[in-house]
Symmetry: D2
Subunit: 408 residues, 4 copies
C-alpha cells in the first residue's frame, strides 16, 4: 500500500467503517452521504459544511466510501424504507439512492458478538482486521475511520487485563475468556489495522488503558464518546448561562422518551446505566455536585425514531426567588446523529492525515463525555473546535502529508 | 467638590440614581442592596460577585448609595411589602430593612413627566440636574450612575432637533415643545450633571444622536439598552447552538405573559412596540431575516410580578427532518432584573473611574439591544465582558484616578 | 326521482358535498373514505364506529359518495400526494386510492366566489343548486349532506336583507349586490336543493335569520359551527374540571401556531376574527367573563398542516394559592377534522332520514360554537350525543322513512 | 352519650380526627378551617361550598372541631409558619389564627408507629380508641370522622389474619406480632370507636377484608383511597376525551417532581410503589392495558411543597397520524388536598348521619383508587356525586336522624 506524499489533493479518499452498519443512525448516514453526493439535499446539520470548517481541505462527498460491520442482516434498503416511512428520509431521496444502497451493502461484513463467536477473541479480532484491510485495499483508500454506532453496552468492570497491552493480548488469546466487550474488540481491531477510532456511543470502546496504550504505540488519533445530540446538547448550552448569570441551579430533572432499537436497549436498566452515567457526569462538571438531578430513559416503542426529552430546571435568583425553566426537545435521533458522524469522519481523517495521535479533545463539541478534554460548555467547545480547524488547515496546506496509514 | 486622585481605595463611594425609583425593579434593587449590606442574603444573581469580576476593586455594598426620581408617590416601604407578599423579598429581610428603606425614601425626588410639567423642558432638566448634583454633594459621592428603570415608552419618531446638540438645546428652551421623551430628558440631565447613564429599558433614552454627542463632549460612558433577563436571554444562548450545529431554524414563536405595572404598560400595543422591536432585532441578528418569528406580550394582571414566556422553535435537521424545541421560562421579573442593575452600576462606575467614555459595548452581556456592539451571542458577550474586566482591573490598580466627575 | 319508503336498508345511499373540496381537510376526508372502503386503515378517530354509535343503521362506507365545490383547480391527486409527504396519508394508502381519487375528481365543480362571478347571486345560486341536483340524480342518492370546509371568512355585518327570506331573495336577485358571503350562498343553495347543511367553519354560513327561516320552511336539519378539533376541545374538557373542583381560573392564555392554507388565511386579522370570536365565546360560557384570556393565531408557513397550541392556565386554589397548568397540543389539523366530517355526514343524514329539522343541538360535541345548544362542556355533550343516537336508532328501526328529499 | 334524634339542626357538631395531624396537608386543613370560620378567605377549592352541594345541611365551619394523631411533635404553629413562607398560607391569615392553632394543638395526641410502641397492637388500638372517645366526649360531638393523612406506607402482603375479623383480633392480641400497618391499625381503632374512616393516602388502611367486615358489623361508612389532586385528576379528565373521540392513545408517560415530606417518603421505591400502583390502575381502567405508561416520582427537596407533573401523551388519529399532548401541572400539594379533606369530612359525616354504611362509592370523585366504585372518568364521577348529594339532602331533611354514633 503506497501513497504519494503529496497532499495537494487534500485528505484524499477516505473510508468510513461503521460498527452497527445496519442500524438507524448508520442507515441515515449512508442515505445522507448518497443524497449529498447526488446533490439531492442541502447540507443542514453538517458542521463541516459551514464556516470556518468548509475552508479546510476535508474529504469531499465523492471521496468518502462506506462499509461496516453488523451482527444482524436486515437489508440496508429495507431499513432505509422504514426510515422513510418514519419521516427521516424523503421519499424522493429514497427513489434515487437505491442503487447506491446496494453498493454499500456489498461492503458490510458480519461483526463480532460474544454469543455468535467461538474461539478466542484474538481470532475474532483477526477477522475484523482482515475486513478493514480488505476494504481499504479494494477501494484504494488512504485511510479508514472506524466509527462505533452499535447498541449501547452495559458498563464493564475494569480487570487487570484491561490495564496494559501485553496483559490484554495474552487474555485475548485465551479461548476461554471474553475479556473485551464488543465495542472494545472493535476498537482493538481498528487500531491494529491502523485506523483511527471514533466512539459515538457510551460503551467502553477505546477507553481502556490497554487500548489507549495501543493507540499511542500506533500513533493513531481517536475520539469519543457518546454523541451529544439532544438533551445533553441543550444542557451544555444552558447550564453555562445560569453560571454566567450567577443564578443558582437547585435541580435539573430530565425524562427521555424514545422508541426504536435504542429505546429497547435502554429500557434495560443495566444497559441504560452507561448512558445515564454519561449524562450525569456532564451536568456535575457544569454545575457542581449539589444539584438534584433525577434522570430517566423510558422505552416508548410507538415513538419509533422520535426522541422527546423534557427537562425541568429549578433555580434561585436574587434574594432567593424561586424560578423555573422547562424544555421539551422533540427530534429524530438518527437525523441529529447522522451528520455529526459524517463531520467526525472528515475531521478525524484530517487529524490522521496531519499525523495527530491520541485523544482528539478538540472534538469535545460532538460528545457527552469528551475524551481528552474536561470542557463541557458548548460555546467553549465550539471555539476550541474552530481554533483547531485553523491549525489543521495550516498543516494540510503544506506539501508533505504525514499520512499515518503508510506507517502501518 | 474636590476628590483626591488616589484610587488606592478603588472606585470609591458611588451613587445609584434610579429613574422610576418606586417601581418593582427599583424596590427590589434597594431591598437587595440593604440586605446585602446587612449580610442577610447570598449574592445569587450578582455577576460582579463571582470570578473574575469579584477580583476587581468595584464599589462595595457599603460604598453604594441610592436615590432616584419617580412620578408616583407610593411609599417605598409599601411597595416592598407588596413584593414580599408576592414572594420576591423574604419576610425576614423585610423586617430588617425597614429603617434603611426610610433613609432611601428621603433621597427620592419627583421626576419629570410631560403631563405633570409646565414650562420648557430646559427648565425641567435644570431641576433634574439640581437633584443629581445635590445628591452627589450631600452624600460626598465620587460619582453617580443614573439608571433608567421607568416604564417603557412608545417609540419616538426622530426629528431634526434630535440630530445635533445645539438644535436640541434650542428646542428644549422652547416652552411650547416637548421635544424629548422623559427617558431622553433624564439622559440629558444625567450627562449635563456629569453622570454616566444606563438604560435598562427599551425607551429612546440616550440613543438620540444629539445625546450621544453630549456624552462624547462630556467624556462620559453610557450603556444600554433593555435589560436581558428572560426570553431574550434564552434566545441569545440557544440560537447560537442551532447555528453552530448547522441546524436550520425555520420559526421561533414567542408568547410572554406578565402582570404588574410592566404588564399593564405593555398591554398597550403602542408601548409594547419598543419592546417587541428590541426583541425581534436580536433574533434577526442571530439567525437571519428569514425566520418566522411571531411574538406576543400579554397583560395578565393576576400574575403580578411573575413573567412566563413560552418559546416554540421549529427547525430542520439532516435530510430536512422537522424537529422542535419548546421552552417555558417562569420567573420574577424584578428578581431577574435587580441584580443586573447593581452589576451595571458597579461596572459603569468603574468604567467612569478609569476615564472610559462613549457606549460601553462590553456590557452587551446585559442587554437585549446592546449599544456599541453588534454581538448578540451570549457566550461571546460573556467572554468580552470577562476580558474587559481584566483591563478595567489593570487600570484601576494604578495610582491615578481619571475621575471624570471632577472635570465637570 | 323516486325512492321506496322502506328503511329496512337503513339511511341508504348518501352524498357528501364538500364546499372547498380540494382543500386539505377535504382531501383527507376523501382519502380516508376510500381507504376505509378498501379496508386499508382502522377506524381511529371515527366516533360513529364505536359504541353506542356503531349500532345505529348509519350509511356504510360503500353507501357514501363524495362530490363538491371548489374555486381552485389543483388536482385532488396532487393534493393528496402533498398530504402524504407531510405524514397525513400513508404512502401505501396513496398507492391504492389513485383510481378512487380520479373518480371523485369528476364530481368536483367550480364553486362560487364573489371575485369570480358576474351576474346576480340568485343566478350563482341556481348553478350551485343545479350541481347538487345533478350529483344526487347521477349517483341515485337518497340525500346529500352539504358540508362547508372552505377557508374561514371574515365576520359579516348583519343587514336588513339577512333578516327574512323574502327580503333576502329580493336582494339576491339584484345583480349589483353581493348580499351573502360565499358560505351563506352555499347554505342557501343547499337548502333550496333540499340538502341538510353542516358548517365545519366559523364563517357566517347558515346562521343568518333568513337562512334559518328557509331551513324551517324546507323541514331540513342543519348543524354547526366550527369543528372542535384541538385547543378548544381541550378547553371544553378541562374548564369543567376547574369548576367541579371549585378552583378559580384567573387567566387562560392561548397561542396557536399553524401553517398550511388555514395558517395563511388566519394570518389576516380580519379573517382570524371569526375564529377568535368562536374560541372566546366558548371559554366565557364555561368559566364566566372575568377570566383574562389572550388568544393568538400565528401563521408559521413552515409547519404545514401541523398545528401546535400552547395554553397556559393560572388558577387559585385553597387560601388563594397560585397554581398553573400548561398544555401543548401538536396535531395534524386535517387528521383531526376529517373523521369528524365523516361522522357529521352520517349523523346528519340519519337525522334527515328520520325527518328531524332545524338546528341539531345534539351535535354540539363536534363544534366550538354549537348551533341550537348552549352546552359547551365536553362530557355533557358526549352524553347528549349518546342519548340522541338511541332515539335516532329507534326511529330508524321503523318501516317508514320520512325521507325529506323526495318531498322536494 | 345521648343525642336527640332531631336533625332539624342538620348533621350537627362533627369532629375531624386527622392521622398525621402535624403534616403539611393537616396544617393546611386546620389553617383553612380557622380562616374560613373567621371569614378571612374565600371558599376556593371547596366543592361543598358550591351548587348543588351548598344546599345540603352539611356541618358548618363552626360545627367542625379538629383533633388528631401524629408521631412527631413539631408545633403546629411552627409548621404553619413554614407553609406561610412557602406561599400556602397568607401572612395576614397566619397572624389571625395563632390562637386557634394553639387550641387545636391541645387536641393532638401521640399516634401509633411500630418502632415507637411496645406491647401488643391490641393495646395500642385501645389507646387510639380512648383518644377518639375522649375527643368526642369533651367536645360534645355527634360524630367524628377519622381521616388518614399520614405518610404513604409501602404495600403490605396479605396474610391470613387480614382475611377475617376474628383471626385479626387474635393476631392483634399477640404482643410478638405487628400484623397491621399503622394505617390499618388507625382504621381499626376508628371503626371500634364508631367513627367513619376516610383514607386520603394509598396506604393499606381499611382495604383489608377483616376491616371491611368490621365496618359492616358496626354499620359504618368509609371512603378512599388516595386523594386525586393533580396528575391523576387531569388523567381522569383527559383520557375519556380520547376515548370519546375514538383517538387511540399509545403512550402516556408521566414524571412527578416534588419535595417536602411527601417527596422524601416517595423517594424510597418501596414506599413509592403504593402510589405508583394507585396511579397506574386508574390509567389502565380508563384506556386499557396496551398503553405504554412509564411513571416516575422524583424527590426534589428544594421544591418544598410545590409539585410539578409532566405528562406526555402520544396518540394516533385518522389514517394513523401521530400526534401528542403535553401537560405541565404545577401546584401546592397541600393546597390541592386540604379543601378535599374538609369536603370529605362534611360529606362522610352526612352519610353517617343518614345511616349509610360500607364503602361510599359516590365519593369516587375525590380518589385515585375509589373504593366501592369502578368509575374513573371524572365527569361521570362528578355526576354521581351530584346525584348522591340530592338523596342525602332528602334524607337529612327528615326528622329522624339514624345517627350511627349512638348505636355504638
Amino acid at each position: 500500500m503506497a501513497h504519494d506524499m503529496n497532499t495537494s489533493e487534500g485528505v484524499g479518499r477516505t473510508g468510513i467503517w461503521l460498527i452497527g452498519a445496519r442500524g438507524s443512525v448508520s442507515a441515515t448516514v449512508i442515505s445522507g452521504l448518497l443524497a449529498l453526493r447526488a446533490g439531492l439535499v442541502e447540507s443542514t446539520g453538517l458542521v463541516t459544511e459551514r464556516a470556518p470548517f468548509d475552508a479546510a481541505p476535508l474529504p469531499t462527498w465523492d471521496e468518502l466510501v462506506i462499509g461496516g460491520h453488523d451482527i444482524v442482516d436486515t437489508a440496508l434498503e429495507k431499513r432505509v424504507e422504514q426510515l422513510s416511512e418514519a419521516g427521516l428520509v424523503p421519499a424522493s431521496v429514497l427513489r434515487s439512492i437505491t442503487e447506491g444502497l446496494r453498493e454499500v451493502e456489498t461492503d458490510i461484513r458480519c461483526g463480532y458478538h460474544p454469543t455468535l463467536h467461538t474461539g478466542s477473541q484474538a481470532e475474532a479480532a483477526e477477522t475484523l482486521i482482515g475486513d478493514l484491510v480488505d476494504f481499504r485495499g479494494r477501494h484504494d483508500l488512504r485511510r479508514v475511520v472506524v466509527i462505533n454506532l452499535a447498541s449501547t453496552e452495559p458498563p464493564v468492570p475494569l480487570v487487570d487485563a484491561h490495564q496494559d497491552l501485553s496483559a490484554l493480548e495474552q487474555a485475548l488469546a485465551d479461548p476461554t475468556r471474553a475479556v473485551l466487550p464488543a465495542s472494545s474488540l472493535a476498537a482493538y481491531a481498528a487500531l491494529r489495522a491502523g485506523c483511527p477510532f471514533v466512539d459515538f456511543t457510551p460503551s467502553t470502546g477505546i477507553t481502556l488503558p490497554a487500548l489507549r496504550e495501543l493507540a499511542a504505540l500506533k500513533g493513531l488519533p481517536y475520539a469519543g464518546s457518546d454523541g451529544k445530540t439532544g438533551e445533553t446538547l441543550l444542557r451544555t448550552v444552558l447550564a453555562p448561562m445560569f453560571t454566567a448569570r450567577a443564578l443558582k441551579v437547585r435541580s435539573w430533572a430530565g425524562t427521555n422518551l424514545l422508541g426504536g432499537g435504542d429505546g429497547a436497549t435502554l429500557a434495560d436498566p443495566e444497559f441504560a446505566a452507561s448512558k445515564l452515567e454519561s449524562k450525569a457526569r456532564g451536568l456535575a462538571a457544569l454545575l457542581g455536585d449539589d444539584v438534584t438531578a433525577p434522570l430517566h430513559i423510558d422505552n416508548v416503542p410507538h415513538m419509533g425514531d422520535v426522541k422527546t426529552a423534557w427537562d425541568h430546571v429549578a433555580f434561585d435568583g436574587f434574594l432567593g426567588a424561586k424560578m423555573t425553566l422547562q424544555l421539551t426537545w422533540t427530534g429524530y435521533d438518527s437525523s441529529l446523529a447522522a451528520p455529526l458522524v459524517l463531520d467526525l469522519a472528515r475531521l478525524t481523517a484530517a487529524a490522521h492525515a496531519t499525523g495527530r495521535s491520541g485523544p482528539l479533545g478538540e472534538l469535545a463539541f460532538f460528545f457527552k463525555s469528551p475524551l481528552g478534554n474536561e470542557e463541557h460548555r458548548f460555546a467553549e467547545q465550539a471555539r476550541e473546535l474552530a481554533d483547531w480547524i485553523q491549525t489543521l488547515r495550516t498543516d494540510l496546506g503544506g506539501t508533505a502529508d504525514t499520512d499515518a496509514v503508510v506507517s502501518e
